[in-house]
Amino acid sequence: MTMAIGKTSYLHDLKVVFSNRDLIFSLAVKDFKVRYRSATLGFLWMLLNPVLQMLVLSLVFSFIVRIPVDVPYPIFLLCGLLPWNFMSMTLGIGASSLVNERNLVKKLYFPREIIPISVAAGHFINFLIALLLFLPVPLFFLKTWSWALLFLPIPILLLALFTISITSLATLSDAFFRDTRFIVEALLMVWFYATPIFYPYSYLTSLTGVIPRWIMPFVNMIRFNPMAGIISMFRNILLKGEPPRLADGLYVLIITTALLLFSFILYRRHGPIIADHM
């Protein structure tokens, strides 16, 4: 192999990332093991957390503030909460991951995007296990067994790719500007409410005329939130037993592809000098 500066092709760089899948896996497994090994309840926490979260939110939104949904509220909620938790935890933890792993970055060579990808991979294992355990609930209570289940990999894949793209961008930005992690924290807080997680999308349309007029444009912006599209795909499959809407899928696909390409280009350009900023 002959290496020369700045002469590698896009395809070659993509191959390099792909050839490091063993490393992504090793790092993800390491994160997973380190996270749960020293805790007494071990990886049970992975399930306990969403369950607790679901209980609290269900209590609030089905008894105190009533949000009308046509299925049992906890099931409705969990359907949005699982994908959201995967995305928000990956982004929240991933944003500072390059800086946290600065020892590796300063002393070893590997494509830098591996780090955020491995964080996503670690949480993806979490997400898949939680999803598998939760899956029988709507299928059993709502009797939504149908061929639509075959579409389930699509929103899962889109969610994973969207999460990777946005986390990679945040991580890269954080490597150069440490403020990014705080911006991400703030963003995630707003984003949680701007995503139809604890309310159905239709709830927003019912707000017309109820809330002041000047807020409506902001509410309408939720339409462009890719997480809304992803969660709506999950809900269609799991709660209604219908295939996801094509419009949702296409929109998320376009956004995700654009973000992935953008972050790949940025990493190609700035990745090699990240070590200088650690």
Partner: protein
């Protein structure tokens, strides 16, 4: 020669930012093409070639670009311009233990580390057994790495790295670790790898190691290639370059001559240079990094015939100190370092260092003269003769074979905090180092020192005077202040043990640490100990009488202080059963093995206001001593 690495015109710059960068300002900077920060050249126009199977050494001062070069070759960072051609797979070992996860077992870490240096999983599986065998820690391989000693961790890391079968192996200063048996095995592993056609690049400070191990050596100096050649040639050039860099300025008076080089200053007396290498220098320690005066930018602020004011600036860290050096007379040099309090917020320690010629055979401490070991360890490690011990009032060297005057660094006017070190160099640095570290807590913004040059007689007089000044004797009784501890001897037998006679307030051993000052030392001795913790000073007065020594203790409260309990404490050797008579009643404290006396103050509440109070007085007599 079959070239596997061809580097031409490599340049790497760093931008150094004084202030925090604002994320919000970046888009504006992009539009206006505004560039923040200062440009720093880490490597400039570096070209060289390495053939297959070579062991290529890289040497240079700190900050000469060695590590940057290895980082670029391993792909960790990118150069600004120039071309790199490398044939084959590169494995770099820039720091042992990086990439190891404390909570995982040794075996899991082999896989993690292996994949970090780019090995496919199948290859690690194949090599697993031989890695474990080489590391020699079979028994512990399934235990978490956090229970390993550092030596074990290093073994495992090195074993994994050499078993990856790279074509090119990059090593940065990693060979000096581990025990000698393992080091030997590492050398063998590298040798046999080279025989298989692996090319090795090594960065090291150990010149003897580089000399005996490398086929060719390159010396970097401030980012440029200073020399490439055989080990012998280049090592020679390197050692020369330390002392022969361009002079900044010089001052002189009579036959005393001081020369300032970018690393420090050198003293020449009657045509003989007493110092070597860096000479007398200052380094600042921040976190784990050293900022040596050799890395600073020097500015001559004011230059006179026999005095100079210099400003040293470590640009990219925004650190600055001022040196004021004046030749007092042809035997005394005043050296004052002003740091400013701001600086002390940024650094942990200030170190004052003198590197002196190898011809000095003896070093001087306030308590004694000691000879440097005759058989100097010729390894590449230096030997610490006195390290991390309590601060000494002065440090010096004497006994030069060719007639050089003795050299003493006098710290009498500096705070008695920090540590002292005496180091004797190995192959890397022939010579000796005297060092005093001042920790940042002392908050001192000025350090006043004197460099004194003595003839043999003057030296003994100076040393005696320092001894005598702190001693009062009568009959066989001697009260002595030595190394900040007040001791009582009779007929050359110490009556008190560490930490000497002291005062405890509110049951804290408050008088340590404190700063001692000799106020008066004619017929009697007056000492003032200012506590570094409480707003309080002790004034001891000792006066030699015919029948003994009169002592007086006064307490000086600088601020309001609440005191519940105050005691004069005399730790003694209980097994000897000798109790000194100090003229006031003493109580035996069995727990701490010492005698205590509670001064008879009129009213406790009096101490709550600032002022000076008599705490007690009495006469120490030898007649009163007895066995009990």
């Amino acid at each position: 020669m079959n070239t596997v690495i061809r580097i031409s015109n490599l340049t790497k710059t760093y931008r150094v930012y004084r202030q925090r960068r604002l994320l919000a300002a970046q888009p504006i900077h992009l539009l206006t093409r505004h560039v923040e920060g200062e440009l720093l050249y880490a490597l400039q126009d570096v070209s060289f070639e390495v053939g297959k199977g070579e062991i290529f050494g890289i040497i240079g001062h700190n900050g000469s670009g060695k590590s940057t070069l290895l980082k670029i070759l391993s792909g960790i960072t990118r150069s600004d311009s120039g071309s790199i051609e490398i044939q084959g797979r590169v494995t770099s070992l820039l720091e042992l233990g990086v990439g190891f996860e404390q909570e995982l077992t040794g075996r899991e870490n082999i896989y993690l580390y292996g994949s970090l240096i780019g090995l496919p999983r199948e290859m690690i599986e194949e090599k697993e057994q031989s890695i474990i065998k080489f590391s020699g820690i079979e028994k512990f391989i399934d235990m978490p790495v956090q229970s390993y000693s550092s030596g074990m961790l290093i073994r495992l890391a090195f074993a994994t790295a050499v078993h990856t079968e790279p074509d090119i192996l990059l090593l940065d200063e990693v060979m000096g670790v581990g025990d000698s048996e393992f080091q030997h095995r590492c050398f063998q592993a590298i040798q046999s790898a080279v025989e298989r056609g692996v090319t090795v690049l090594i960065v090291s400070h150990g010149l003897s190691f580089i000399g005996s191990f490398c086929s060719r050596v390159m010396c970097l100096h401030q980012g440029h290639v200073a020399a490439i050649g055989t080990a012998e040639q280049v090592v020679h050039i390197y050692t020369d370059s330390i002392s022969s860099r361009e002079k900044i300025c010089e001052i002189s008076r009579d036959d005393l001559h001081i020369q300032f080089l970018p690393a420090g200053f050198h003293i020449e007396k009657s045509g003989r240079i007493l110092t070597l290498a860096r000479g007398l220098s200052v380094n600042l320690r921040k976190w784990e990094s050293d900022f040596m005066s050799s890395e600073a930018a020097w500015t001559v602020v004011d230059l006179k015939e026999d005095a100079v004011h210099l400003r040293l600036r470590w640009g990219h860290w925004n650190l600055e100190v001022s040196w004021y050096i004046r030749i007092e007379n042809n035997r005394t040099i005043n050296w004052t370092i002003k740091t400013g309090r701001d600086l002390y917020r940024d650094v942990d320690d200030i170190g004052i260092e003198a590197m002196v010629s190898e011809s000095y055979k003896t070093y001087i401490l306030p308590e004694e003269f000691r000879d440097f070991p005759r058989t100097i360890n010729r390894g590449f490690n230096m030997e610490y003769l006195l390290s991390q011990l309590q601060p000494r009032r002065f440090l010096g060297v004497t006994g030069s074979t060719d007639p050089k005057p003795s050299l003493v660094l006098d710290f009498s006017k500096c705070p008695m905090t920090g540590s002292s070190m005496v180091i004797t160099g190995g192959n890397m640095m022939p010579g000796h180092i005297l060092q005093r570290m001042f920790p940042a807590e002392s908050g001192q913004d000025t350090l006043e020192m004197q460099v004194k040059l003595f003839d043999q007689d003057d030296l003994i007089q100076f040393w005696r005077m320092h001894q005598k000044a702190f001693t009062v004797e009568s009959g066989g009784l001697v009260i002595k202040l030595q190394n900040d501890s007040l001791t009582l001897d009779e007929q050359n037998t110490p009556l008190t043990r560490e930490p000497g006679i002291h005062v405890r307030i509110n049951n804290d051993m408050y008088s340590f640490p404190c700063e001692w000052e000799v106020l008066q030392a004619n017929c009697d001795l007056q000492l003032r100990a200012t506590s570094l913790q409480l707003p309080l000073a002790l004034v001891w007065t000792f006066c030699s009488l015919e029948n003994g020594i009169r002592w007086t203790l006064e307490l000086e409260f600088l601020e309001r202080l609440t005191i519940d309990d105050i005691r004069i404490c005399i730790p003694v050797f209980s097994e000897r059963g000798i109790i000194p008579d100090i003229g006031i009643p003493l109580v035996w404290d069995a727990r701490d093995q010492m005698l205590t006396a509670t001064p008879s103050f009129s009213e406790m509440s009096d101490f709550r206001t600032p002022g000076k109070f008599l705490a007690g007085s009495g006469i120490i007599t030898s007649g009163g001593l007895g066995n009990e």
